[in-house]
Amino acid sequence: MFRPVFLWSDILLWAMVAGCIALAVYCRRQDYLRRAWRRVGESGVAMASATILAAFVSVGLLDSLHYQPRLPAQEGSSEVQYAPEVLSALDALVADLRLNKEKTYSAPLATHAFAKETMERDGVQTRDYPRLKWGGAHLEEVAGRDSDLARRAASGAFYGLLLWAVVVGVAVGWMALARGAPYGATCRTVWRPDTATTRPIAWRAVFVTLAVLCVIGGVTAAWAAGYHVFGTDKVGQDVLYLSLKSVRTALLIGTLTTLVTLPLAVALGLIAGFRGGWWDDAIQYLYTVLNSIPGVLLIAAMVLMMQVIIDTHPEWFETAAERADARLLALCFILGLTSWTGLCRLLRAETLKLRELDYVQAARAFGVGDARIMARHILPNLMHIVLIALVMDFSGLVLSEAVLSYIGIGVDSSMNSFGTMINAARLELSREPVVWWSLAAAFVLMLALVLAANLFADAVRDAFDPRFQWRARRILKKVAA
């Protein structure tokens, strides 16, 4: 019934997921890594924010399974045809939101449009607010909206909690099995752990956050079945749908950029610190030059050039989705190229320190080659810096996407992102009456994502390296401020 479409960003994202799983397996086996991650797990704030991040990631991953639906067969032709538009699993799940458009703005949970229209009623032309095509269209009486909303909220919350109970029940059962403890006792230790003698993983924070998420999700889903929960935008698209679609872009920008940053920073930092001399001079020169160009301007220059390339080669891309995807990847690439210098400098300094340590000297005395020393003895001891830098950069990248899209050098304008949402909505506050819901939706979701990422990053930093001084590094700090 459909043909799967593999966009490059999907492939890279899923490859990163696979990489993370492989890394998790590796961490389980290494004692010191397991202990560091355990320290993250002991922090309630970290676990709560990790749960929220996981919710965002699952939305993003659902949105990264793309396909083209098959068109109904035409008369007299056996040829199979596919729709030109590329959809994702998320689109299929929330098809109601995607397809039920209004004419233009409508307020959250509204039953009537935002603007008056001329209508014919009983043969007389009047100007009034027309009913929406989808929002509250099932209502006979508009006055019944509030009780309908309350009813839906109650049943949504109920189903949300039911789902929560099932998930938590299974999770606790699994824990009980793993610990070989009775079910009731496991429940009690999860809810009120014995903090006097042990430092347990903060499962309670996870479950409470999950409960909140389930209730919010349940209520939103129940409302969304009959209303536009966050209203609609200028062309009548559901704002909730747009916000959900924006999550993937934000996650991609925050994660795929590391695919460029990481190899560059690690390889060059290691070589500069370990080899010294001519190599060191060259690499230092390279990152000083890149660093001395103000970040936004360098990004702007590169993006402008990328636009020229994409505009002059329209034949490279078969569908609009592919072009937007290529542009997103190029943006990640550019952000990566401009943001590896800070990490590289840190790694170089740390390598300089490690190089002089006894065990490295011993390895050298045994005649171990440079490449092997770097890979076996130095790289593992740099990994905590790399990890901390990555999680700390994530939130900065998500924020910078919004700014870049506002300036006009961000993602393709056809691609949903928080930046394009804000950009489209920035003049709406000056309308009368005020159209606030697009901005509010972008604000709430971005705040949830970035705040969770920041809190999680802090916990990771504290767990892996409490001594190290970490400057709140933001690529676009100067612009954002």
Partner: protein, 325 residues
């Protein structure tokens, strides 16, 4: 010290050459002037004559690095590399795509940019340092925890929302100041107060949290205990002793941006319609005026390098132990 400064200035030359090379590669080699002309002129069916004319008007019709047809020294100088890149070292930026002189434009727009940037910088530094010291004063209390939570929340909000929200509340709902615009002289105050406030508020989160950790590191040192034992008040200890000693890491982040204040702020200026260098840059990016973007990249790098030098010099001012050699 003077020898050090001269050496650092000499060291800046290869870096600026590197910056120049990168911009040259980006703007002329990645895409040939033909591609850019075609895109600027818009349609796909551009005649070769139109492209040649566009290039000739802007001086892009020369060879990239080596003009074999020219006589003598002009072989190297009558090229795009020399005309567009090497000349920048003499601060000769040429003309924008709309024909205006870039250097003139920069001179006239510097004023409004500085009018926002300098008050923002001074007020912002004062407010964040005071806020951080206040948090340290209340350390280990609920106020401190609340303050840090507030900081983390504040730094998780995109700068765009501060601007949009602030503009909406102050200008539209409360009607206190004009929404946007600019005028010279004393009149400028009413246009500047809101952008300055917004950028100060928007910047508090990240910096105050960072300063707080710096101050907390100092607070347990011996000299602080001595000062307290002497009977000095806690506020006196914080502002006179702790602040002075935590100055070095603060200066690292602060002094480097002082020269960059000239560049203005991209977002603020474009939202508030202030005719500074930031909005100039944004307009240039929007209209794909590469000559202006190239000049701004170069100026930005020069200012950044000056900032690094100033940082080093400022170390010697706050910490007499630091000697520059």
């Amino acid at each position: 010290m003077i020898a050090y400064i001269i050496r650092r200035l000499l060291y800046a030359i290869p870096i600026l050459i590197g910056v120049n090379l990168i911009t040259f590669l980006l703007f002329f080699v990645v895409n040939s002037p033909d591609d850019i002309a075609r895109m600027q002129l818009g349609a796909k069916r551009v005649t070769p004559e139109a492209i040649e004319k566009w290039k000739a008007e802007r001086g892009y019709d020369k060879p990239l690095v080596w003009n074999a047809a020219a006589p003598g020294v002009a072989k190297a100088t009558d090229t795009i590399l020399f005309d567009k890149s090497v000349r920048m070292f003499a601060l000769d930026f040429g003309r924008a795509d709309d024909g205006r002189d870039i250097a003139l434009e920069i001179r006239s727009r510097m004023g409004p940019s500085l009018a926002i940037a300098i008050p923002t910088f001074i007020l912002g530094l004062f407010v964040t340092v005071s806020f951080a010291l206040l948090l340290v004063f209340f350390r280990n209390t609920a106020l401190d925890v609340g303050g840090v939570v507030l900081c983390v929340a504040a730094m998780s909000i995109s700068g765009l929302f501060y601007i949009i929200g602030g503009q909406y509340l102050v200008s539209k709902v409360w009607n206190l100041v004009p929404i946007s615009g600019y005028s010279g002289g004393l009149d400028a105050g009413k246009f500047l107060i809101l952008p300055v406030l917004i950028s100060v508020v928007g910047g508090i989160g990240a910096s105050a949290r960072w300063y707080r950790t710096l101050f907390l590191e100092e607070i347990n040192k011996d000299y602080v205990r001595t000062a307290r034992a002497k009977g000095l008040s806690e506020l006196h200890v914080l502002f006179r002793h702790v602040l002075k000693n935590a100055m070095i890491p603060i200066l690292t982040g602060v002094v480097v941006v002082i020269p960059l204040l000239f560049m203005g702020s991209l977002l603020l200026e474009s939202f508030f319609g202030i005719p500074g260098l930031g909005s100039y840059t944004i307009d240039a990016i929007g209209s794909q005026d590469f000559a202006v973007v190239r000049s701004m990249v170069f100026i930005g790098s020069v200012l950044y390098i000056v900032g690094l030098l100033l940082t080093d010099i400022s170390y010697t001012l706050v910490d007499p132990r630091v000697r520059l050699k």
